[in-house]
Amino acid sequence: MQRVFFLGLLLLMACSSVLPSSSHYVLVSQAGSSTVAVIDPVQGRTVKRITVGGLPHRMVVGPDRNKVYVVLVGSQAVAEVDARTLEVSRTFLTAPVPERRDDGTPIQAHFDQDAFSRTSCFDCHNPGGAKPFIVGLRPVGIAFSSDFGKLYISHIRQGRLSEIDLASGQVVRAQNLPPSGSANEAADVARVKAKLVVAMRPRQPSTEASAVRWLDEQTWQTLAEAPTGSDPAFVLPLEESALVSNFESNTLSLHAPGANPKSFIVTPGPLGMLAIGNGKILSLNYYSNAVSWLDMDTGQRQDYRLEQGDKRFVNPTHAALSPDGRRAYIVSSGTEGHLVVFDLEHKHVAQAIPIDGLSFDVVVVRRK
């Protein structure tokens, strides 16, 4: 009888033991649900959902990897997520709360509720709160300053570029960038050494020319500008140059100040890009449900559809590298969302973890 009890206890312990877990978490911005999902890739599930604000899109990880900054396209703000506690520690406005509407009439509710003291429009414009839900100048792009003490934010509306001091959380500089032809939306910003790279595009949909503009990081003086493909979506900073994905013209273009851009054709709908070492780039091709593996030195390219068995993973947007560099975590952002784990060695989908539909960006943080 005693042996039976012991065996039963062992079985019970085996069943209830703590599941193996990963050394890192994967964070995914889930634009449709105002959250960031915290995913344990070993358990293969979302272990936490952090409400951050309206339409969370791009994310960047701080240099010490303790902070993640999430651009809230719908709330005119950036959320700072503490990677240790997995909580929102602060939010910053990326542009001032307006006193008046476009037609000049005052927004009385902003005065009545002292909206000017808020640090995110999500405080009031949230599900069940003030309407409309999506407000502001649509911040989209994000980059750190050279000293990592500031964030540069590009906005779709007004082609605005803002600089946020991370110590104070205040916008310390802002400028509406002059358009380049009809390209008047600042679709993304990145930093290459002491230069900023801004992708300017016309209001979409459009097949008109877009441009990549180089600015001096300190003065924001224009240093150079070159045409790029239609609808530039993302700027990937490289050592001395920047790679731009041109969503509508199915190309990646390599830009360096003063040089003619070099173009690489990929499968339709390039959006996010991931540097995977040795001059290789993984291009996430939204419309073709595939990734392109591009060798920028040779120009050679291989394409891989995101499939596992008869399951297709559609609309890849962004990717992040696992700490060991062997896997890419790819956001499949259809109405049925998945975090696709792509084996970079064997070049196939190894795992797919359900996430919310309409998710967007992904970063990796250490598990504390």
Partner: protein, 621 residues
Amino acid sequence: MRNKLWMVALMGLFGACNGGDSGGGNVAPSAPNTVAGLVTDIGSGARLSGVTVRVVGSSRTTTTDARGEFELRGLSAGLVKLDFEKAGYAPGHGIAESASSAQTVLVALKKDGTEQSYNPTQARTLFQRTEAGPYAVIFQPNSLDTTDTNLRVVVTPLDPTKEDSALPGDLVAGGASSTPLAPVTFAEFSILDSQNRRINLKPGSSAIVELPIPPELRSQYKIGDKIHCYAYNPQTGRWEDFVEGTVERSSVDGTTPVLRASIRHFSWYGGAPAVQEQECVDIEVRGRDGPLDGAVVTARPGLRAVTNRLGQASITVQKGGPVNFVATKTYTDTFVDSRGNLIPKPGAKVIDIGKVYEDDLIGLDGRNYSRRPGPCPPESSQSVRAAATNPLPIRVAPAPEGLFQALALLQPGGLAFVQLEKGIPNADGDLENAEPASGAQITISDNTGRTATLTELAPGTYIANSFDIVPGRRYTLSIDADGNGSIDGSGSAFAVGNVSWSNLVNGGSYSAASLTATWNDSAATQPGYSALYQVTFQHQGGSGLSDFAFYVGSELSFAPRTQTDPPSPLAPGTYTVTLNAFSGAFGGGNLDITDNITGVGMQGQIFSIQPVNPITITLNP
């Protein structure tokens, strides 16, 4: 034992008879992994026979029978994606659950838009005009994946405020907390070559589409707003390729607010932002004998729930917005074999349907049902939850046989009048051998909560006594055409406002060169109101192109010009000027009055007309 078997067999027989005659169905378990369905015309409500039904990803096909119904048995468990095809209709798609009991998919097909020829080597804008405005597709040269230069393009518009049941797939962003997508404007784009094969864009190529914002939604979506757009992928059964479109002025007419977006794959396409404010609605589905277990309740495409043993289900909907709820219950008849086993009888089924349009609830039973902050809890916890205290009742009954047709006139300042007929639909969905339909239960309600039941004045003729039609109010008709307790069709329209000339008076004199005629409509500022105005200037005694000017449109002004090329100011003289206002549904190049009373087995038109007394004016040089 023998007695027991006999009793079971008798019960099965009773069940089969009961199901066939009244739709009460039998109590035997439905066939597992069976999907049954009913395919109708979204415009007429007519049952559609001969529709090819394909199971996506397999070779299984079937065809709808003379009643527009089909049944697929022995399917794999899980979601089943179905394609529906019938000549003259835009492709339809449906999703059903293959589960332990038979389930129903209701599919409404929409008639194709007008076919237009296109040579793909050329840049071209093709459009289909409707009451909401022009639906357009803008092609770049050589962007289509074909060498055929004789293509046909069909743009089939769909206004989701009225026709969301024809939308394919689930308009939901899935995940741990599924987010409904609120349909704004949609269309289906079919491009066919000389061999009748579907053509699409070359990989990497795109086109621009423009889809009008429905008048009811224009107050929500302003010029410059961004709306997420999706293309339906029949292979995955999902809405994919979401990109931002922008609300802009139509490039076709320069005035209609349209959603303009880039498209990469021609299929069903449209705009549907994520619903931020959700509510949970408790539903109770009842048949003739009480609450029904296993009934499927659908709100919008993708918002679906199955009733529990209490006949109740909870369904997540958009907060604030009116929702059309549809409930179905499928019975597959059974017989008892020699061993006493209940065996499904192939091909035998009864589909009960009930609909509740939330707009119709004003003043009616169920108006006080509760909505809770949403989303609803997961289904796993719904099965054990307590009975809802105030659920929205949906009564289901067999869909009517044949086809009912209603013609409803709202006379501003007068009465509401409905003429109801019943007949057999022909191949075009029109009635043949129509006879007056007696015994219908028809209610009318307005947007202030007033309601009335119409009385039958003569066979098939119904009138609302003591219910004045107030100009500028929105009226909804709910029609139980066969009087069996379930609403078979409904529709709504605004009564035309008080319309009058603002700058023209009878006997007045005006400059032909500088005249712009303007008029007022007291309802013009009502959200969702979009009247059609017809204006004519006819030279008294004249009959030439220089003597006549006309306008048909939704603006409140018009500069009269001759019908010559180029147009010029009208010739001086005395003119009779007419002004008519129309409120209802219309479409096509000839602005035909189209159906806006819809349902299963039900079609019709509800509209309002106000003629303004003709005036005589003099135009001077």
